[in-house]
């Protein structure tokens, strides 16, 4: 297929995401690993913008890169010294992990590239916020009111549980 600018920009973001993803799982200092994870999360938000899911990209940046990552940095600073190096896993465990992941990856890529998919050529229309809002709050078919309420209960339970677990005795 021809080299469009679409393909080039996707290629740049994909390379950034893969390089920083691999650095995340193999860095010896935890704070650096968290910084590399931030690049992966922001690159994922850029991919969501390529797919024209702007709301999802903003939620990803706000919650993941802005909330969860800060939580990780707090916990890293609370549980280790700054600049302390994590011990590297022995070569045998890393080899087993690498073999398992590589074989799974080969199988998945083979299934992806040999299955027939009917890609719909659609006009990339942006989804209106009013559409997202009505879908999130509606109780008819295609509505997500039940999932919304269940997630509120889940978040409440997690807040209470988090406070209970981590309080000082």
């Amino acid at each position: 297929m021809e080299i469009t600018s679409n393909l080039i920009s996707f290629g740049i973001v994909a390379i950034i995401m893969l390089v920083f993803g691999f650095l995340t799982v193999s860095a010896t200092r935890m704070l650096r690993s968290a910084a590399y994870l931030m690049f992966v999360l922001i690159a994922a938000a850029v991919v969501y913008i390529f797919l024209n899911y702007h709301f999802l990209a903003m939620v990803q940046i706000a919650v993941y890169a802005g909330g969860i990552l800060v939580l990780f940095v707090f916990s890293i600073l609370l549980t280790s010294n700054i600049g302390e190096r994590v011990e590297t896993t022995p070569y045998k465990n890393r080899f087993i992990g690498g073999t398992a992941a590589a074989s799974g990856l080969v199988l998945t890529l083979w299934v992806i590239w040999t299955s027939p998919f009917e890609v719909k050529e659609s006009v990339y229309k942006e989804i209106d916020m009013a559409q997202i809002g009505t879908a999130l709050m509606s109780t008819e078919k295609g509505g997500y009111m039940l999932a919304f309420e269940v997630i509120s209960i889940l978040l409440l339970a997690c807040i209470i549980a988090g406070i209970l677990i981590a309080r000082k005795k």
């Binding site: 799982v25 797919l51 899911y53 919650v63 969860i68 280790s80 799974g104």
Partner: protein, 102 residues
């Protein structure tokens, strides 16, 4: 060599990088970060399927949004547990936390 399959391959590679990190990391917070990598790969896969195969519906995007919310809650609880473990045993290496409470 369509763009759709490239997107799917990217999310698959991210998923399996997360699995490798989950198996090979010895620090509890490193394991948690690998789980977050897995969740990013999954969210991207759902969105890609939605955009390319069913462009008129929004189900895949909503699965990604809810998965982000659930992953935030799960990361918070896991970090609370890790902090508690560190307070009691001063240690968060996965192979040295091997004593039960009593």
């Amino acid at each position: 060599m369509e763009l759709f399959k490239l997107y799917l391959s990217l999310s698959a590679v991210l998923f399996f990088i997360g699995i490798y990190g989950f198996i090979a990391r010895r620090n509890l917070i490193g394991v948690l970060m690998s789980v977050e990598l897995i969740m990013v790969g999954i969210g991207m896969s759902f969105s890609v399927f939605n955009r390319f195969l069913f462009p008129d519906s929004m189900e895949g995007m909503f699965v990604s949004i809810f998965s982000i919310a659930i992953s935030a809650a799960e990361a918070a609880i896991a970090i609370a547990i890790i902090i508690n473990v560190y307070r009691n045993t001063k240690n968060i290496k996965t192979d040295e936390i091997n004593k039960m409470k009593y």
